[in-house]
Amino acid sequence: MTSLVGIEINFYVLLTLKILAITGVVLTGILPIIFGELKISAHMQSRVGPYFAGGRWGWAQPLADGIKFFQKEDLVPAAADRQVYKLAPYLLMVSTLAVFVIIPFSPNLIAADLDLGIFFALAISSLSTLGVLMAGWSSGNKYSLIGGLRAAAQIIAYELPLVLAVIGVVIQAGTLSMVGIVEAQIDMGVPYLVGGQVIGFGIFFTASLAELNRTPFDLPIAESELVMGYLTEYSGFRFTTFFLAEYAGVFSISAIAATLFLGGYGFWGLDSTVFGPFVLVAKVGLLAFLMIWIRWTWPRMREDQLQTMAWKWLVPLALANIMVTAIFKVVF
């Protein structure tokens, strides 16, 4: 028996409630991010962007797109490896949703505060690359194949800085639990971004862009080179699954970054149990805006440059960050 808000409820009922609540939060979280991507990019480019769907500001555009994709024909290329081709979106969505288990929206509103916490999140989230690789390989398309291979190369380059950047936080907090990390920051009075992990945050954010395949690391998709990379052959709602998973990924990685470095659900003077979810979503919005901003500003890197940057700069920098953090932790 577990408690959500202090009332004893049957575990399975609670589980269902959690799933529904978090699905609701995620949906209400990613639809604005998708809409934000459309609108923010438009305004950055002196355009208006979506305008008609839904009446005001075109707010219903993401929904309209979803409904449109819902009606589209779903094609599996004759040359494709059908099983793998169909399995790939499942794997992607499963790994993306499983990450939401450990995101603390408030001290109590968390699906499961695992002991392994952040370690689990890192492990599960990199599974999505496997989905991408499967999609690329099984399409029977050369662009997709190259795109899938690029995705694999990318995770090799960026998984390590991502993990090493987290270790700095773990040293400071002394726990892997997500709630524990947030509470440590609340105790400390400032988020870790200010409290010693500036470099760690920079590395984590850069690497998470790469993990999400977003510009400037959108090599696996690379529209101008590989058409749509591993997504080239996907159509209809199967394509939408990838699309949703991408934005769910934006949400989850932003939430993890907010939890690790920006103090998660905590904010000075606000009661975490009540305002926690709003505070977290606001921080997620901030990071998502940063990602959108970067995407519509920067060109794309080349994969050799990406590897060089990861191995020659980020990995040594992350190790140095660990050492300095450890020294501070032991000495002071």
């Binding site: 024909e73 969505m93 695992l114 270790i167 773990v170 699954t241 660990i322």
Partner: protein, 121 residues
């Protein structure tokens, strides 16, 4: 034990929910979407003309050495997590020990860079 089990049951449930979500929505879409495949539609896309050879042609993976390096450092990261958790209680000795560990690994990286294997060729 029970709580541990419950926690991972939650994880499993979330994973299952993801699968059900995709499957359910795809199934729902299958009810209303058209399905009219023709050979031309099922052709893989290669810039508008018939593909040359198959899509599964052999290709040269340039990042093999990177993959090896990744493996080594990823294992290192697994070692680092427990150390990072307990460093406060373990004190200076653990600090030095891990520094030596990291230094040895870094030497490997420097060696790889000097050998030129990190050039994308």
């Amino acid at each position: 034990m029970s709580e541990y089990f419950d926690q991972y049951l939650t994880v499993l449930a979330f994973g299952a929910f993801g699968a059900v979500l995709v499957g359910g929505l795809l199934g729902l879409a299958a009810l209303i979407r058209p399905s009219n495949p023709t050979p031309a539609k099922l052709e893989t896309y290669e810039s508008g003309i018939d593909p040359i050879g198959g899509g599964y042609s052999q290709t040269h993976i340039r990042y093999y050495v990177f993959a090896l390096l990744f493996l080594i450092f990823d294992v290192e990261a697994v070692f680092l997590f427990p150390w990072a958790l307990k460093i406060e209680s373990l004190g200076a000795f653990a600090l030095w020990e891990m520094f030596i560990f990291i230094a040895i690994l870094l030497m490997g990286l420097v060696y790889a860079v000097r050998k030129g294997v990190l050039k994308w060729e």
